[in-house]
């Protein structure tokens, strides 16, 4: 028999969606007792990732209700397991997209827990004890220390929260696919939560950055605030024509269905199109441009924990955080509607500690 949400010893409170309407509302549930390897985090802030929206509406067909989303969590350590040495009480920590993995397979041993076949997501997954995982739109979370990150001192908690998913999701492929050579030209397709952080990382790596977007009204900020070198509207054929064969790499953050042909055409010979957005239907891939230009399209999925910490430390060094709109918990349903229309610059972050009340 399925366990009820009150299956664990510690009471917890958050907001959950109960059906594919995706509407969130107050929800009482519970967290496991803090084990020897665990850290209990009092949640201060949680970013609103587009995946949260896909999940509450069951757009990928894998949601089990009730679902408490949220995997860009920043908070304070309030309890430590006996085997936890790397954190102490009061530390500012983060939890991202993963809270578990098998720890013994090849990918786990290579610090690539994000490719472990048994990886456990922060929400909408099944824990090793058979219970469901609930995410960061809540007051506390209990996590195995391996999956907890330290937030560097100089990064503000609210603006650092989105780095835990958006940040690592673009940082990891930029490193893996070698998109970090100073002077090279990076295209960033889509200027949302992921895209705006990719622009900041790109500039920190010394790259020339062009934003590729369908929204002309994002140009001013892209150049003047985010530091992009140029901006092109992908539905403008002349702009696309002028950009043909000019980019060494493109990171595609767009999750709507879109055409890959113009992006492939903008790549130079041996260019790489890296896709991190998650459209809910297949895209069309023209093969000729791949063959004639020895180009490739590759995917990437978040990043391992070690690399997530490396990314946070990189952000601390370069003073990179997300551009956020801080909201109260009870604004969440409006925020989700605005997010579905890309009406946010560039990530909502829920002020959990100050606005989540029972």
């Amino acid at each position: 028999m399925a366990k009820s949400p009150e299956e664990h010893p510690q009471k917890a409170f958050g907001w959950a969606a109960r059906d594919p309407s995706g509407t969130l509302s107050p929800f009482h549930f519970s967290r496991r007792e803090n084990g020897d390897e665990d850290v209990t985090v009092k949640i201060l802030y949680c970013g609103v990732c587009h995946s949260d929206l896909h999940s509450v509406k069951n757009e990928w067909g894998i949601t089990r209700y009730p679902i408490v989303p949220g995997h860009e969590i920043v908070g304070i350590v309030i309890q430590l397991g006996n085997n936890v040495k790397k954190f102490k009480m009061g530390d500012r920590v983060g939890v991202g997209v993963l809270v578990g993995s098998c720890k013994t397979c090849e990918t786990c041993q290579q610090d690539l827990e994000n490719y472990c076949p048994s990886m456990i997501f922060t929400y909408n997954s099944t824990s090793q004890d058979g219970t469901r995982t609930y995410g960061g739109y809540s007051d506390i979370v209990v996590v195995d220390q391996r999956y907890v990150l330290r937030i560097p001192d100089n990064l503000p908690s609210d603006a650092a929260a989105p780095l835990l998913c958006a940040g690592i999701t673009v940082y990891s492929p930029m490193k893996y696919y070698g998109m970090t050579e100073p002077g090279k030209h990076l295209g960033v397709a889509g200027l949302g939560g992921l895209g705006h952080v990719a622009v900041k990382f790109g500039k920190a790596f010394g790259l020339k950055v062009t934003v590729i977007s369908t929204s002309p009204n994002k140009e001013d900020e892209a150049i003047n605030k985010l530091g992009a070198d140029s901006f092109l509207v992908s539905t403008n054929p002349e702009k696309v024509q002028a950009a043909l064969g000019t980019m060494d790499y493109i990171i595609d953050t767009v999750s709507a269905i879109h055409s890959l042909a113009p992006l492939l055409a903008m790549l130079k010979l041996n260019g790489k199109l890296i896709t991190v957005g998650l459209p809910d239907k297949p895209l069309e891939l023209p093969i000729f441009p791949l063959v004639m230009g020895r180009k490739l399209i590759g995917g990437s999925d978040i990043g391992g924990i070690k690399e997530t910490q490396e990314m946070l430390d990189f952000c601390a060094k370069h003073n990179i955080t997300a551009d956020i709109e801080l909201i109260q918990m009870d604004y969440i349903n409006t925020a989700m509607k605005r997010l579905s229309k890309s009406d946010v610059k560039y990530r909502f972050v829920i002020d959990v500690a100050n606005s989540l009340s029972q």
Partner: protein, 360 residues
């Protein structure tokens, strides 16, 4: 007024050409340029029939200008070299593949990747530096710049070596470039035709485990017993495909018909690479989730540069790798094209030019 083909250049040549989109070939008189100071002239002994020859003869890609003398897997014996030629002498066994020229001043050319030069000149059906059209190897004589000529190792027979000049380099280059040559790796080869069968042999030469993925169960015995593949998967059998999921470091996909990518991406291990060397003429469906969840890659590759073509032929010489060929007389070529269209060949036709190409 343009010169007729047999008066364009000073030396007479004879071959077979397609005159229109029927693709039917027939005897054709034309001419070759004089041997320039950097040129190598050779008597053509054999020429492989590549599937591209069929596409071009029938203008399948819309780029053909008639008459077309196809053939870019050309081997023969050197009869004359230009005054500045250093690498070859009369009597050498040589070959020419898909290219006969490039700009020699761009990044690609500087990196020995003439095949990606924007001004690369194809061996047939393309405008040469002097404005005339290039004619390929279904002919008695060939003249090419030294840079585009490779030496055929002494131990490789010329007829079975000819297909290496296109099929060989087309699969060798991506095996190397995408790092699929480390002993112990597991590489899949999709399609067992001219390209596929050579890919199996090269991959075995590198010491990797090879699985052939094919729609034709009848090819299994030969794949395993004759070509040396380790396994054979029938791609239409869901149980076989399921059992092989997540087992391959890379896949070389030689199939140019439109086909589903999803099952192939599923066969790859995490971080695996699917490399397309056949080019379907319509976009294929790409499900993004499997690429993302496994950090996998779909890439393309097109022939190879000249330096690496020589390297490939030398590797073939060292490992005694040649193509499996059906040698045919020149006047069988139209029948061969019809059979090729139905994939009825094990695994490359090679025209015995030296013995059967007779000028009228």
């Amino acid at each position: 007024m343009a010169n007729s083909a047999d008066q364009e250049h000073p030396t007479k040549a004879f071959g077979w050409a397609a005159a229109d989109t029927s693709g039917v070939l027939s005897p054709f008189k034309f001419s070759r340029r004089e041997t320039g100071e950097r040129d190598v002239r050779f008597k053509v002994l054999y020429c492989g029939i590549c599937h591209s020859d069929l596409h071009m003869a029938k203008n399948d890609w819309g780029t053909s200008t008639y008459p077309i003398v196809p053939g870019h897997e050309i081997v023969g014996i050197v009869t004359e070299v230009g005054s500045k030629v250093e690498k070859f002498k009369v009597g050498d066994r040589v070959g020419v593949g898909c290219m006969v020229g490039a700009c020699h001043s761009c990044d690609s050319c500087d990196n020995d990747l003439e095949n990606y030069c924007p001004k690369m000149i194809f061996t047939y059906g393309a405008p040469y530096h002097d404005g005339t059209n290039t004619y390929g190897g279904y002919s008695d004589v060939m003249v090419a710049e030294e840079r585009y000529v490779v030496r055929i190792p002494d131990n490789l027979p010329l007829d079975a070596g000819a297909p290496l000049l296109c099929a060989g380099i087309t699969v060798y280059s991506p095996l190397q470039h995408f790092g699929l040559t480390k002993p112990g790796m597991h590489v899949g080869v999709v399609g067992l035709g001219g390209l596929g069968h050579v890919a199996v042999k090269f991959a075995k030469g590198f010491g990797v485990k090879v699985t052939v993925i094919s729609t034709s169960p009848s090819k299994k015995k030969e794949a395993i017993e004759h070509l040396g593949a380790d396994y054979f998967l029938v791609s239409r059998d869901p149980d076989q495909m399921q059992a092989a999921m997540g087992t391959m470091d890379g896949i070389i996909d030689t199939v140019s018909a439109v086909h589903p990518l999803v099952p192939l991406i599923g066969l790859l291990k995490s971080q695996g690479k699917l490399v397309m060397v056949g080019a379907p003429n319509r976009p294929l469906e790409l499900p993004v989730f499997p690429l993302i969840m496994g950090r996998k890659v779909v890439a393309g590759s097109c022939i190879g540069g000249m330096k690496e073509t020589q390297e490939m032929i030398d590797f073939a010489g060292k490992h005694n790798i040649t193509a499996d060929v059906e040698v045919i007389p020149m006047d069988y070529v139209n029948t061969a094209m019809e059979r090729l269209e139905k994939a009825d060949v094990r695994y490359r036709f090679v025209i015995d030019i030296g013995n059967t190409l007779k000028s009228a």
